[in-house]
Symmetry: C2
Subunit: 322 residues, 2 copies
Amino acid sequence: MALSEFALIDRYFRNCGMKRTDVRLGVGDDAALLDSPAGCDLVAAIDTLVDGVHFPPGCPAASVGHRVLAVNLSDLAAMGAKPAWALLALTLPNIDEGWLDEFAAGFSALARSHDVALVGGDTTSGPLCVTVQILGHVPHSQALLRSGARPGDLVFVSGTPGDAAAGLAVEQGRLQGAPDVAAHLRKRFLYPSPRMALGKSLRGYASACIDVSDGLLGDVGKLAQASGCGVELSYKELPVSEELVAAVGDVRARELALTGGDDYELCFTVSPSNVGRLRQDLPPERWGYSLIGTVREASGAVVTQNGNVMEFSHSGYDHFGK
Amino acid sequence: MALSEFALIDRYFRNCGMKRTDVRLGVGDDAALLDSPAGCDLVAAIDTLVDGVHFPPGCPAASVGHRVLAVNLSDLAAMGAKPAWALLALTLPNIDEGWLDEFAAGFSALARSHDVALVGGDTTSGPLCVTVQILGHVPHSQALLRSGARPGDLVFVSGTPGDAAAGLAVEQGRLQGAPDVAAHLRKRFLYPSPRMALGKSLRGYASACIDVSDGLLGDVGKLAQASGCGVELSYKELPVSEELVAAVGDVRARELALTGGDDYELCFTVSPSNVGRLRQDLPPERWGYSLIGTVREASGAVVTQNGNVMEFSHSGYDHFGK
């Protein structure tokens, strides 16, 4: 049975995600009506995943549903914002009800865990491509920007970047490893955890923040550039997971930590005067972040080991570059 | 010279659309920061155009830029809302700077004419596909919904639906006509005018409203269904343009007015007690709308001529149906 566009929206997306009382009108009219809280800025981001570009052909549909929301949530985390509402534009080559069931389940589970309502969407036929637009809130003047870093600030990153790039290689059959190692890395690519609690908690501590989606070195470089500074990262302080080292060795692990994409960790800077308070209020071992470098005056992002600058050929994923 | 994703966003989209003082932070960070006005609902819609599905291959880039914003604006018009901010997700097979120049010009001109700021976006590589998410505002409890029609209400439509479907046929070389007629119809497809002023002005008059994007008969049927009613349209009252009749004859013109897509007109209902006030305050000849039928209790959308129900095989465009 072919489902019409309207039946499709009704079946899969009308009850997707969380119910929220600030949704006056959700899926089903020409547009959604939403009740913005007073005292907050509205925070808006949009991100697209394209089949064969952002995920390999045959990738589990639940992962596609999870990731398209996760990449958007991660943008809000990087602003210190709390998410509220999402809109979904889904372009499908055909109606595969099994795929749609899984996609909606993956999307909905992550949405519910972050209290996000799906309030609107559009379904079209064409090559598989998924866009989510996310809306959230942050108290006036408290958003974390890329542009607030100053020379002398310390640079931190959450989690263990590089895992997702290795997980993609596992998913594509380009990398093997012990079953538990491979499963861990694959999960880090397929089901990333956006750092919503950390992002929100960094308000009042971090001077700048960006989410690491295109590779740590490239993304920290964007933060430094937006701040009119540069940054120096310490090679040996890069946090790499045991699983990543087990799968690819220490040298390649650090390379992936610097240049791999799809991690959705947060990279943030903190002024020296705030670092004591940060470590006390948000203990790094509990919140899962590491000191990896310092902001400097000279522009650019460099990695040093024993005082020597190291060369990396690829400083982050660029969809059209090189 | 290949442009990187970041240079591309910077060159084409950082200054696209209107500058607005309620944009605290626009294109260039992880997300935009926006200042919602008090006393209003936030109104949000999302729509995608896919190459070869929503526009023919080789369609002017300026038209793609115009239309992807117009279809979203039209959703806001149907809610009686005023647009404010847009986000753009652009998937491109390659960087064609001439195409991007034209696309951005088409988008920006329409955005400026409706006071819309482009506040965020994402560019990815893949098959040509464009998604816009639009945000706007409507005073609390004043939005026009699909669900407010009641039996006995009168049904109106703006403009002359059917022109865009004929214009698409001209664009694809499937329909010829006198040069001025062909140019008029083609323009109606390539550069539709969303009915923003009418939508906003209908607050307090219309009992229900929907935008006509998938065909008048199908869309008025959705309005009726959302209202728990049906609708009866009068075949001979359908407003068809002289150009459409000149190109395809009266019978086919009325068929296209009922079933053609891409018009982005407004179809709305008004209770008999409000019709006098509507006609006085918003004279139809100046605002460009026509009475075409009545809401009835029996479900479904029918067209009648001299008291007889007429059959139409295709009641609106459905991306996956049939």
